[in-house]
C-alpha cells in the first residue's frame, strides 16, 4: 500500500530494497507504529534509510508523498473547544450563510450535530488504518457552508506534528552533495586515504603464518594478506588566481594532509588553462616557471593527474593559440591538455563550481569534453566518484 512511496524513494536515489520494504510492512503489521503519523515517519525512516546522508532526501520525499494526510488524521481526533468552533464559524461565514444556518435550526443545534459527527469520526479512526483513510473531509466541509474551506486540523497546533519534524530538514548538513567545508575535510581525507591504499597485491603474512602453523600442530600453513603499501602517485595541477584562490587553499590543505598516504605527490600551478609553462611558487610565477614538456618527461605515465579549477574562462583561452589572458601562447590550451592526457591516461578534473551551474558556462563544457566527461564537483560524493575513476 506504500508502493508509491517506495518508488518515490527510489526515484530520489535512496537505495531502498524490497527486503526493507517488506520489513516495514511487517513492522506495521506487528503494530510498532501505533496509529500515529509521527511513529510511522520514524519507523519508515529507521527501516528504509541506512545512511545519514540520505536522511534529508528521505524527509523531502516523505513530505511530498504524505502531504495533507497528517491534517486529516489528527484533525478529526482532536478535541475542539466549542467557543473556538463558534469563533471560526463567525469569522468565516457571510451573513447569507448565517441566515441559512438559522433556518436549519440555529447555531447551537448545528454545533451539536457537528460534535456528534466528530464523535463518530473519532471512533472510526481509532478503529485502525488512520493515515491511509480516505475520509478527506473536514467536519466543516461536510456541511458545506464554509466557502474558504478552512480545515480545522490544520489550524490546531496542540501536538508537535511529524510534518514539522521532516519539514525542518535537520539532516541537510549530512548530505554529501554539499560543498567541502572544514567540517567535511576530515571525511574527504578518509576517502582519499582509502583511494591511496587500494590496488594491493598479496604478501606473506608472517605472524598469521606462525599462528596458523601452531594451530595446525606444526604443519606449515602459509597465509597471505593484501599488501598495504602506498603506491599511488599523483600530480596535481591547481588553477590559481582570481576566483579560485579560496578553493585552492582548501584543496592544498586537503591534499597535503593526505600527503603521507601517497607515495609521491607533486603539485603545479597554472592559470585558467594549462599552457606551455607551469610554476610551483605562486609569488615568483613570472620568473620561476617550469616548462610543461619537462613535467611530461619527468613523471612517468603511471602517475595519476588531478586538475583543480573552475574551468570558467573565455572559450578562446582553450581553443585558440594566443588565447591566454596573461601571455602569448604559441599553441592552444586544448593542444596542451590533449598532450597531457595522452601521457597520463588516469586523469580527472575537480571543479568547485556546483554541478548544476556547469551548463551555463561554455568553457566548462569544452573542458569537460576534453576530459571525456571526467569532471567531478568538489564535494564528498564528487571526490568519491573521482577516486573511483582514477582507480579504474
Amino acid at each position: 500500500m506504500f508502493i508509491n512511496f517506495f518508488y518515490e524513494l527510489k526515484n530520489a536515489k535512496i537505495p531502498v530494497t524490497l527486503k526493507e520494504y517488506l520489513t516495514l510492512l511487517e513492522a506495521l503489521k506487528a503494530g510498532v507504529a501505533s496509529y500515529s503519523v509521527d511513529d510511522f515517519y520514524y519507523l519508515s525512516r529507521a527501516t528504509l534509510v541506512k545512511d545519514e546522508r540520505n536522511l534529508d532526501k528521505f524527509d523531502r520525499v516523505f513530505g511530498t508523498v504524505f502531504k495533507g494526510l497528517e491534517s486529516v488524521a489528527e484533525g478529526a481526533t482532536a478535541e475542539i473547544p466549542e467557543e473556538w468552533l463558534k469563533k471560526l464559524a463567525e469569522k468565516t461565514l457571510t451573513d447569507e450563510e448565517k441566515a441559512l444556518i438559522e433556518s436549519l435550526g440555529g447555531f447551537d443545534k448545528l454545533m451539536e450535530t457537528l460534535k456528534k459527527r466528530l464523535e463518530e469520526q473519532k471512533e472510526r479512526h481509532q478503529g485502525g488504518n488512520k493515515w491511509i483513510g480516505t475520509a478527506g473531509t473536514s467536519p466543516f466541509g461536510a456541511y458545506g457552508y464554509n466557502p474558504e474551506g478552512v480545515r480545522i486540523g490544520q489550524k490546531e497546533s496542540r501536538n508537535k506534528r511529524a510534518v514539522k519534524v521532516w519539514d525542518k530538514r535537520e539532516f541537510q548538513n549530512l548530505d554529501d552533495q554539499l560543498e567541502l567545508g572544514t567540517r567535511n575535510i576530515k571525511v574527504a581525507l578518509r576517502r582519499l586515504r582509502k583511494f591511496a591504499r587500494e590496488g594491493a597485491e598479496v604478501e606473506l603474512d608472517m605472524p598469521n603464518t606462525i599462528r596458523s602453523t601452531a594451530n595446525n600442530a606444526g604443519w606449515l600453513d602459509l597465509k597471505m594478506r593484501p599488501e598495504r603499501r602506498n603506491k599511488v602517485k599523483i600530480l596535481i595541477f591547481f588553477d590559481i588566481g582570481g576566483s579560485m584562490d579560496s578553493y585552492i587553499k582548501m584543496c592544498e590543505e586537503l591534499f597535503s594532509a593526505a600527503r603521507s598516504e601517497f607515495k609521491h605527490l607533486e603539485y603545479f600551478y597554472f592559470h585558467n588553462c594549462l599552457y606551455e609553462k607551469v610554476w610551483k611558487d605562486n609569488k615568483r610565477r613570472h620568473n620561476d616557471t617550469i616548462p610543461t614538456w619537462q613535467v611530461l618527461h619527468t613523471y612517468a605515465h603511471d602517475y595519476k593527474v588531478i586538475f583543480v579549477g573552475d574551468a570558467s574562462m573565455s572559450p578562446y583561452e582553450i581553443t585558440y593559440p594566443g588565447g591566454s589572458v596573461e601571455h602569448w601562447n604559441e599553441e592552444s590550451g586544448e593542444a596542451w591538455m590533449r598532450r597531457t592526457l595522452d601521457v597520463y591516461p588516469h586523469a580527472i578534473w575537480l571543479n568547485p563550481i556546483p554541478q548544476k551551474h556547469w551548463d551555463h558556462t561554455s568553457s566548462i563544457g569544452v573542458m569537460r569534453q576534453l576530459m571525456e566527461g571526467r569532471m567531478f564537483p568538489l564535494t564528498l560524493s564528487g571526490l568519491d566518484a573521482a577516486a573511483r575513476e582514477l582507480n579504474r
Binding site: P15, T17, K19, E20, T23, E26, A27, A30, G31, V32, A33, D38, D39, Y42, L43, R45, A46, T47, V49, K50, D51, E52, L55, V165, E170, F171, L174, T182, R190, A214, N215, N216, A217, G218
Partner: protein, 285 residues
C-alpha cells in the same frame, strides 16, 4: 515488551520507535551519531529497562568475526596431548565460546552490544551476515549447529570510520542520533543531576551551544563533555552570575578543560580572546 527510556536516559521519540521496531521484529539495530551522544549507553539502558542481561562485544581493528562465534584453542590441545591429558580426545574441550554464542545460548534472550563495528576490518560485517540474519552458525570442529532459541536483541554502534556493506545494512534498522536540541539537553541534564540550579544550567547551556558554533573547532564538545563540565562547575560551586559575566577578556569559559579536549582548540579560543581584547582597545573607525 516496549522501551520507553529510563530514569537515567532521555530517549527521543524517533529513537524509541527504532528501538521498539528492533525489539518487535528481532532485527539488529544500527546506531550512528556524533561521539558522546550516548550510542553505547543506549544498549545498557535498553538492557536495564527490559531487565535483560547485556553482553558487550567491543570491536578492535584486529577483531575477527570468527572470534564472536567461537575459537578453537589448538595450542592447549597440542600441549595436553604431549602431557597425555585425557581431555585431549574430546575436541569440544578446546572450543572457546564467543560473545555471539553466549548471546544465542542465554535465556531469556539478552541484549547483545556490538560496539564500534567500523573499527574492524572492512570484511567484518559481511562475515557476520548469516549469523545475524538467521541467528545460527555451524561449528566445524564439533560438527554441530548452534541456533538461538530466542533471538537476542542486537544493538550495533558505528562511528562512521568505514562504510558498511549494503547487504549488511539491509538487514538492520538504522537510527542516527542527532545532537540534542537545547530542550532535550535540559532534560538530559535534569536526569543526570536532579536538583541542579536551573539558572546555572541555562547559562552553561548557552555557553555550551555557543562553543559548538565556533567555526574551526577540531572536536566539538558533546553531551558527555557537557555533563562532566557541569559536574565540575557544581563541585567548584560556580554561580550562574559568574558564568553570565560575558567579559570579552575572559572568552574562555571557566574549567574549559572539560569541554575543549584539544590543544589547538584551546589556542583557537585564546586567539579569539586576544582579538576581542584588541578590538576593545582600538574601536573601529
Amino acid at each position: 515488551m516496549k522501551f520507553t527510556g529510563t530514569e537515567s536516559y532521555v530517549a527521543t521519540d524517533d529513537l524509541k520507535v527504532a528501538v521498539n521496531a528492533a525489539i518487535t521484529l528481532k532485527r539488529p539495530l544500527l546506531i550512528k551519531g556524533e561521539p558522546g551522544t550516548g550510542k553505547t549507553v543506549l544498549a545498557q539502558e535498553v538492557a536495564e529497562a527490559l531487565g535483560r542481561d547485556l553482553i558487550q562485544w567491543h570491536i578492535k581493528s584486529t577483531t575477527k568475526a570468527q572470534q564472536g562465534l567461537y575459537e578453537y584453542d589448538a595450542v592447549s590441545r597440542l600441549r595436553d596431548s604431549q602431557l597425555g591429558d585425557d581431555r585431549v580426545h574430546d575436541i569440544g574441550n578446546y572450543i572457546v565460546k564467543g560473545k555471539l554464542w553466549e548471546a544465542f545460548s542465554a535465556s531469556p534472550a539478552p541484549i547483545l552490544l556490538i560496539d564500534e563495528i567500523d573499527k574492524a576490518d572492512i570484511e567484518f560485517p559481511n562475515d557476520l551476515l548469516q549469523e545475524l540474519d538467521r541467528m545460527e552458525f555451524y561449528v566445524y570442529e564439533t560438527r554441530e549447529t548452534i541456533k538461538a532459541a530466542e533471538r537476542p536483541i542486537v544493538i550495533i554502534t558505528s562511528n562512521n570510520e568505514k562504510e558498511l556493506p549494503d547487504a549488511f545494512l539491509r538487514r538492520c534498522f538504522f537510527h542516527y542520533i542527532k545532537f540534542p536540541d537545547p530542550d532535550t539537553m535540559r532534560q538530559i541534564v535534569d536526569v543526570h543531576y536532579p536538583g541542579i540550579q536551573h539558572d546555572l544550567v541555562r547559562e552553561a547551556l548557552t555557553i555550551f551551544y555557543d562553543i559548538r558554533e565556533v567555526p574551526g573547532l577540531k572536536k566539538k564538545p558533546s553531551t558527555s563533555e557537557l555533563l562532566d563540565w557541569l559536574k565540575l562547575l557544581m563541585s567548584e560551586s560556580f554561580t550562574p552570575e559568574q558564568l553570565r559575566e560575558r567579559d570579552p577578556k575572559k572568552l574562555i569559559p571557566p574549567m574549559h578543560g572539560a569541554l575543549l579536549k584539544n590543544e589547538q582548540d584551546v589556542h583557537l579560543f585564546e586567539r579569539l580572546a586576544f582579538l576581542a581584547r584588541r578590538a576593545d582597545r582600538q574601536p573601529p573607525q
